[in-house]
Symmetry: C2
Subunit: 307 residues, 2 copies
């Protein structure tokens, strides 16, 4: 694939991935099936992140793609990114209400008026369900947690790097301000090194932290000044506007205040995380090295253990 | 763990899994975090199923935990199991509606009245998103597809084997009536063999196919007569009422009629599937061999490649 400034690189990449049978359209923008050859790359990179994390003696936690509504509403997501949320609703009525639901469906009316909100929301970020489970005092030295999950963001788009459903592999540090900052900084370098080992032309740039949006406590300008968020960017759909395939974020005490997470000294903890967007990394590899993994540079195949 | 007929085995297993740190409560029944030691077992069994499928030259497809609402409403799930569905809603209003949403949230009112249905529903079964993508003529010899995904079923329960969110690994056959039947029958035996190789006391029993429910075309009695669905059951929470950890189902032409899937001869295809409930298999292993995988029989550990 050639990346150029001409035409719409996002359209070209999406159609190339469909044509190569790597992604399957479903009729909904940003919701695609992954073919085996695409998934193999996702799994291979995921495994690499696992291997980096193992020696750090992290807790491994895997959450389903949803978490309690009661925790979601304590977070600022509903204030800052309501348009991205996924609220899960179901049917709790009786026979009569069900007949009405089916009638509405058959008559082309909005049948979802018969539904009620369930106890869960889709995950807007992989690390969200961790914080409510981490209430209380941390061990001395803090805590590292390895998480991977499906994330939902309601932003229908034809840009294949802007999926509605995708997986994030995160490594979260909960600890003192110094520990959280050191983790964030460590992963800027470690992330660059990891992605460069796959021959990806990656750079680190300062960005806005999505955890503090329009209703958040910190303005975008303040965030940039404090450099809370770094993104690791690679040209995927455009040489001029590279795509964030990972980010390393310092949350300060935003999560630990809400969920009363304290250091072993009883102070409000700080948290930070690095997150790799697994589908975005896979797309960066396809865009950089071509649509046939069998033809990728040997060093890249070896690093990914694809042989 | 000892299984007995006394007391509530489901409560005992849930609390034992929490106490051992294998599952993490979140405050919502049936929505739990998986610790690394639990997840290792899920991944190990998942890999075993992968290995069985590879020689069958299947297409591998991985779908996100959601699929198009437009396809969902073509299926009988909305008629048969409305109470299990997960409909995804989001916020599409402007600033004013958002202020109203936030006000309702702060005042303890139902803020979800401000949301609208999105284009997607959560997956009620791993194979559902396959059929709409399989429209048209099958190759001679039919087609085998390997799928694994998160499934949502809204049935809040304290029984840990009845999760709201869990993973299914399925192998689907699309082909002639003979091919579909042979696939279904093959997997009763192959499934028994696989689970017995893990020292699980498994049996095959005839059951009702969830694809034909109260509004479906086939009564439960007819299904039993035709023996469309077999479940592989293992005692997990009760010695007397074993739990289905896998099932092997013949759908006849239920899906292929809806989605116009034809054999290479142009006839309506038949489909069948085997599905392994990954969390249920893991729980069967914990219930049978104990809560510490390090202490499991060597043959089981070796078979799962846990060493």
């Amino acid at each position: 694939m050639h990346l150029s400034e001409e035409g719409d690189g996002a359209d070209r990449l999406r159609l190339a991935l469909f044509d190569a049978g790597l992604l399957l359209p479903t009729g909904v923008r940003g919701v695609y099936g992954r073919a085996g050859a695409f998934e193999d790359v996702v799994v291979a990179f995921d495994r690499l992140v696992d291997r980096l994390n193992k020696p750090l003696r992290t807790d491994v936690l895997r959450f389903p793609p949803m978490f309690p509504r009661a925790e979601y509403t304590c977070m600022s997501h509903v204030h800052n990114f309501p348009d991205l949320m996924g609220s899960v609703h179901s049917f709790t009525g009786g026979e009569r209400e069900h007949r009405e639901l089916v009638r509405k469906l058959q008559d082309g009316e909005d049948w979802t008026t018969e539904l009620s909100p369930t106890e869960v929301m889709l995950l807007p970020a992989t690390c969200y369900p961790l914080y409510p489970t981490a209430r209380g005092d941390l061990p001395a030295g803090g805590r590292m947690v390895d998480l991977q999950s499906w994330v939902f963001r309601h932003e229908p788009s034809d840009d294949p790097t802007r999926l509605q459903a995708f997986r994030m592999h995160e490594l979260v540090c909960l600890g003192t301000p110094e520990q959280a900052l050191a983790h964030r900084d460590h992963w800027i370098e470690a992330g660059l090194e990891l992605l460069r080992s796959l021959d990806l032309p990656v750079e680190a740039v300062v960005a806005n932290d999505p955890f503090f949006g329009r209703g958040g406590r910190l303005s975008k300008a303040t965030q940039r000044e404090q450099a809370l968020k770094y993104e690791l960017v690679v040209p995927v759909t455009s040489a001029g506007k590279p795509t964030a395939v990972a980010s390393s974020n310092l949350h300060l005490d935003a999560f630990s205040k809400t969920f009363e997470i304290r250091t072993d000294g009883g102070e409000p903890a700080h948290t930070s995380c690095v997150g790799f967007g697994l589908e975005r990394v896979a797309m960066a590899l396809f865009a950089t090295h071509g649509l046939r993994p069998a033809a990728w540079p040997t060093a890249v195949r070896t690093r990914l253990d694809l042989d």
